[in-house]
Amino acid sequence: MKVITVKINGEERQMPAKGTIRTLAVDLGLNPETVLFVVNGMLQTEDYRLQDGDEVEVVSVVSGG
């Protein structure tokens, strides 16, 4: 299986090629209602297909009130 390397919040991670943000969220066990994904500085939707070398910032949106 072909794999790609992406950086998630600064840490390198390998994942299957053609993986999307949606599959990444599932792998990380995240509820999509509680996070946003910024890829290479741009906000992206869940169907964004990750590319080798992408830098992903997982932004938590939940605050303590």
Partner: protein, 317 residues
């Protein structure tokens, strides 16, 4: 995914509304939702002067941005709680002030360390109170002071749909009827205190965070150290789990409540009796002049933060 309106690449999918939007149309969506809430709940008019409580976080800075973009007359104030952990207050203040400057909005700062020589943590330790209860009392007081100093008609805070829905959920779990009667996003001016409103109640935290990112708003990404593990977050987590299964639940839950709030505002005979016993006329605090219902005429803020002046007043009596 393409923008439902223009077909350009979308940056966000809003499952509760079943739409995906590009940056331009998402910004328009957020601003329209805010304008709709302001109108729906009769929060304020175009010529009102609005004091926005800014914390340096996403919600309050997004609110400031939206209100200025909608053309409202806005001023801001920041309450420096002196939280030293991870330079939380220092960073928050810098972000809040920098954004206000960028938007050309006047920002007053009320700093506990400068006013009283200590921050909320030290004060909580000394008084053996929890920082959160002390923080609530202190912020409520200083918000009223800020509105007075800015000569504002109304105070606006960045509470969003998730905050309101989680508070409602928590109050329902306890059947706290007195709080259930007060969860409306508008608190009218009364007893000499200004009107308080929450214009972001139609928007989720996720939508507001996305707005802040798209608009390039530099906000504090980490949380107040005292909110870690707070019960409030557990309620949010559960609501988000339901929202993920059934998009739009939070909105229906909170908006349904605002339509039915009158059901909680009917007081039982016991509550009326209690209210009669509790209610005493408001008078100006003997120390600061702000309205207080305290029998001895000293407000809870002065009682806590100005003990020397309390002693002086008590000595004269």
């Amino acid at each position: 995914m393409k923008c439902r309106i223009c077909g350009k690449p979308a940056v966000i999918k809003l499952r509760a509304h079943n739409i995906a939007l590009c940056p331009e149309h998402f910004v328009e969506f957020v601003q329209k939702q805010t304008a709709k809430a302001i109108k729906h709940y009769k929060m304020f008019e175009k010529d009102d002067h609005i004091a926005v409580a800014v914390s340096g976080g996403k919600d309050s800075l997004a609110l400031l941005d939206i209100l200025t973009e909608l053309g409202y007359k806005v001023s801001a104030f920041y309450i420096d709680l002196g939280i030293k952990h991870m330079d939380y207050s220092k960073t928050s203040k810098e972000k809040a002030q920098a954004f206000c400057e960028k938007k050309g909005v006047k920002c007053l700062v009320y700093s506990l360390p400068e006013m009283f020589g200590m921050g909320i943590d030290e004060a909580a330790r000394k008084s053996r109170r929890t920082p959160c209860s002390l923080c609530g009392m202190t912020k409520r007081y200083l918000m009223n002071v800020a509105a007075r100093d800015l000569e504002a008609d109304v105070i606006a805070t960045g509470h969003n749909l998730d905050d309101q829905a989680a508070a409602l959920f928590a109050n329902l779990m306890r059947w706290d009827v007195s709080y259930l009667a007060k969860g409306y996003p508008v608190l009218p001016a009364e007893h000499g205190f200004p009107k308080k409103v929450k214009p972001l109640v139609f928007l989720t935290e996720r939508e507001i965070a996305a707005y802040a990112i798209v608009r390039g708003i530099d906000y504090v990404r980490y949380e107040c150290p005292h909110s870690e593990g707070a019960r409030f977050l557990v309620y949010k987590e559960h609501l988000n789990a339901i929202e993920n299964m059934s998009p739009g639940t939070k909105r229906r839950f909170y908006q349904g409540y605002t339509e039915n709030i009158w059901r909680f505002q009917i007081e039982s005979p016991d509550q009326c009796e209690k209210k009669d016993e509790e209610e005493s006329p408001m008078k100006p605090c003997k120390i600061c002049g702000m309205p207080t219902a305290a029998e001895d005429g000293i407000c809870s803020f002065c009682r806590f933060w100005r003990p020397d002046e309390v002693k002086k007043i008590k000595g004269q009596e």
